[in-house]
Structure formats: structure tokens, C-alpha cells
Amino acid sequence: MPDTTGLSAVFSNLSKAADKQQLFDTAERFSKLSTLFPGAGPGEPTIESLRAEVARDVERDYPALQAAGTEASDRGVLRAVKWGEKVTTAQRALIDRYTAKGDQLLDEKKLFVCEACGFIFLGDEPPEICPVCKAPSARFSTVK
């Protein structure tokens, strides 16, 4: 079972699952429960430390999970690992581009996040379909 660090995401995911089943009260309750688990505070709140964490997932965790998922023939895990690896690699690339160019990178551009897989897109409009999970553009939210 997850310790409190991951519980917020466990419950926000269950809120989405309830919402898709049109169990709106249940969705609301899971959503509220999700906000009651803020979890442990972060280490150092710098983009460098976040980059190191993200890079570690790409280099170490995803390859290990890919092997474990193949071994267990768990299609669901393999799907999540495939999307997650791509999304995380794109996060790292975006951090690197920002580190190189600074705020200029984002000038006059919008940031969109695919609500299905987490892919971040920088541009004027969201892509017609998500390059990672193939969700339509309507699934992208705009980061304010």
C-alpha cells in the first residue's frame, strides 16, 4: 500500500474513475479526500533538483519497470510505462530547453498538458492528437 506521499494521486485517480462512471458524489468525495493528503514537503525546490529526479526516472526506473512488466506480461503496466517514459523524457527535454534559453523560450507561447497521459506541449495551439497517447486536442488543458 502507498504511504501518504502517493495517496493524493491514488484518490484523485479514483475521483476521475468515479466521474467517468457518473458517480458524481463519490467523485467529489474522493477529490476532497485527495486534497487532505498533502504528503511530505519537497527537498530543494529548484529546477536542477527536479531535473535530476526526472532524469533518474528516465535512466533507471522506466527501464527497470519495462523489464518487470514484460516478465509479468502485464499489458497495463507496460502501457503506463511506455507513456510515462515518453512523457518524462519530454519533461526533461523541456527543462533543458528552458535552462538554455530562459523565459525567452516561453515568450508568447502557451503550455498545454494532455490530461490523459501528462505530455506537455509548448506552442500556440494544442496538437490535434497527443503524440504520446493519441488523445484528441480537447483533452489538453492550458496551464495558467
Binding site: 525546490p45 529546477i47 529526479e53 519497470l65 518487470a68 502485464d74 523565459d103 495558467k144
Partner: protein, 162 residues
């Protein structure tokens, strides 16, 4: 199972209004009236030319068994992604420019979605599954106050839906 209309796909004013035996499709809200919809009927589902109606399932099967070690690994990744989300939120809070804050918020949202996907594949797929019930049970025992109250309410809901 009752019918539900996706109003983004619906072209309005057509056959579901004609075929429904109870008038459940003809409402001012754009949504089908769940109380008068006949359980499992699905005539409107098959008749709709826009594929805008589906049946909402009320009983879900228990997800298949998961390898315990893989489950643990997915939970561990869920926790790492959750930590990254918090780091990104903290970065946004102290960012010196609007651009840096916006980038951090995008990274936070992305990390949350990844954490949720890990939770799903760690077995917390739907409210009505054993993993969720067990987790809510543990929380109802370990925690108190508002958290316990929510966990207890949700345990009731997720138990009933089986």
C-alpha cells in the same frame, strides 16, 4: 444500466426522442433522465445516428490479479512522481519570473497525471475494487477527523456498488 448522452456529440432533436418508450430522452437539461430510463433497454443507444448515447454500467468486475512486486514498484513510482509534483509546486511558489512559475505548474500537472496512472496500474483502478476497499479500510482505522469521516463514507459507497 441506464442511458447517458454525450452532449458534445449530440446533434439535437432527433430519433432518441421518438424511440424512447418512457420519454426519458426528452428533457430540458440535455441529459437523459436516469429515473425513467428503463434498465438495460438501449433502444436509443442503437438508434442514435451520432453515436452520442451509451449505457452507464453499474456493476464492474474485479480487476485481474497483479504481481505483488510489480504493484510495489508502481506504487514506488507513484510516490516519486508525487514528490516531483510537490517539488514543482514549490518551485512555482518561489519562482522569480512568471514564465518559470508557469513552466513549473505545467511540470506539476504532468507529474500528477503520471502519478495517477501509476496508481491505476498499481491496482487502484476503480472505487469498486478490493485494493481500494482495503486502502479505505486502513485509512478509516489509522486516521481521524475529516480523513476518517471521508474514508468511512467512501467505504460505504464502494461496498454497495458491487
Amino acid at each position: 444500466m441506464y442511458a447517458s448522452r454525450n452532449i458534445r456529440l449530440c446533434n439535437k432533436d432527433c430519433v432518441c426522442l421518438f424511440v424512447c418508450p418512457t420519454g426519458a430522452t426528452d428533457t430540458e437539461t440535455g441529459q437523459i433522465d436516469r429515473l425513467t430510463c428503463v434498465d438495460g433497454c438501449r433502444i436509443c443507444v442503437d438508434a442514435c445516428p451520432s453515436h452520442a448515447i451509451h449505457l452507464v454500467v453499474e456493476h464492474y468486475p474485479e480487476p485481474g490479479p497483479k504481481s505483488p512486486s510489480l504493484t510495489e514498484a508502481m506504487i514506488a513510482l507513484c510516490e516519486r512522481k508525487s514528490e516531483q509534483e510537490r517539488t514543482a509546486i514549490a518551485i512555482a511558489d518561489v519562482a522569480s519570473t512568471a514564465g518559470a512559475a508557469r513552466l513549473a505548474r505545467a511540470l506539476a500537472r504532468s507529474a500528477r497525471i503520471l502519478a495517477e496512472d501509476c496508481a491505476r496500474e498499481a491496482g487502484y483502478m476503480i472505487p469498486q475494487c478490493d485494493a481500494t476497499r482495503e486502502l479505505l479500510g486502513r485509512i478509516a482505522t489509522d486516521q481521524d477527523g475529516e480523513i476518517r469521516a471521508f474514508a468511512e463514507q467512501l467505504r460505504g459507497v464502494t461496498a454497495l456498488k458491487r
